[in-house]
Symmetry: C2
Subunit: 248 residues, 2 copies
């Protein structure tokens, strides 16, 4: 990372560095795993001839509206169920009449997302000094199966399903400190989405940004905002850089 500019002028004593966080909570889709490339690959494998790139984008496009509708109804559903509804709604537009078996196999493709190349090794480094957890809108099962396959060495699996609410609801961010018995400012949210970090910071957490310019695939660089934001000065190009920053 490029360090923020040091203050100029008066010879004041160097500021005390903030104490280390105790928990690093990671956004998963996009930050730790390559959802776009993995879903495109799985869709093309299961339904040969389809445009996996477009299908992956369409599937993901349904995600926020589906969560918003669920929250508006005052209920909670695991992401696997939302994914299935979206899959059913977009399949006809791609000319697909899925068998029940294909639908199951496609829907669990979200459990089989590949990690970015640095993720597993860098998380193992961070695990030596911090409690590391996902903090995702994915469910417990999805995140556990994904971690098992991808070698993500979480200490615990925290997510929307544990707190019965989705990010960016403040209770989800504050849930981490509550269940782990640490203060909110001892939790650092790590994500490649500025809105996730904004909400985490509003809830009292610390934040670090990981740039993942390829989140939407090499053909859609314009969909991704990887600019450094003033509000999130910890801005890294990989999780390894975060581990370097903390001396892990």
């Amino acid at each position: 990372m490029t360090p923020p500019a040091a203050p100029q002028g008066a010879a004041s004593p160097p500021p005390t560095p903030p104490p280390l966080p105790k928990v690093l909570a990671f956004d998963v889709f996009g930050t730790v795993v390559d959802w776009h490339g993995s879903i495109a690959r799985e869709v093309e494998r299961i339904v040969p001839g389809i445009d996996g790139d477009a299908f992956a984008l369409a599937w993901r496009d349904g995600y926020r509206p589906a969560m918003a509708a669920t929250m508006a109804s005052g209920s909670f559903r695991v992401l696997d169920d939302l994914h299935r509804d979206i899959l059913r709604s977009i399949a006809p537009g791609f000319g697909l009449a899925l068998t029940a078996e294909q639908e199951d196999e496609l829907n669990t493709a979200w459990h089989r997302l590949d990690p970015w190349p640095d993720s597993a090794a860098a998380l193992a480094r961070l695990k030596t000094k911090f409690i590391i957890t996902p903090l995702s809108n994915g469910g417990i099962g999805l995140l556990t199966h994904m971690a098992k396959r991808a070698g993500l060495p979480w200490d615990v699996v925290l997510c929307a399903e544990v707190f019965r609410a989705y990010k960016p609801t403040p209770e989800v961010y504050r849930g981490v400190g509550r269940v782990l018995g640490v203060r909110d400012d001892e939790v650092m949210m790590v994500a490649t989405h500025h809105n996730d970090l904004d909400a985490a910071q509003d809830a009292g957490l610390r934040t670090a940004y990981i740039a993942r310019p390829l989140e939407f695939g090499a053909k859609h660089l314009e969909l991704k905002d990887s600019e450094r934001k003033e509000r999130h000065p910890l801005h890294f190009d990989s999780i390894h850089e975060l581990a370097d920053y903390f001396g892990c």
Copy 2:
């Protein structure tokens, strides 16, 4: 383990072995960690001169009544809170007037329980073939901090706090399959307590018993029933023997 006796008589074809479970869910206190020895040690360290052995037994004695009272009230509280209430109720009988700091340090002793000598290595073996999780009445934080210190390599941390109910409520056992997307009979409960295994089997799970004759300490072997029960024929002397049984 001693294998159950093979059926005698007619030369019937050997029975098909049952398919492997997909998830192994472990009771923690007594099965994976030595709560009695660890609490006795911590109590004697924090409050020198006290009878740690008797204090550990008294603290644990309050556990079932505290859960029963909470369940009867239709609410849920994490075990850390129940432990604190019990601690406050038993301390005067031991002549203790605890400072707030001593109380905090004592109460988190339950986060610092030592594993039995086989636990961490044997769990690592089982992790190569199964999803391994605690299924404990301890809370998410307690189990996470304990695992971090003791090197218990859980894939996910399931417990009473996730399901807002305590064992032996059937919903806790069935919660494992529900959140992980497997059938109840694809989950095997592993415990050193027959009543835990009975309840798991009533809820549709498979079971394996681990003998821990020293659960209540070497002075109290009479408090522990490590007999083989017909209902739980998988009966092992260590978690390594369970890993041997599954060829891990």
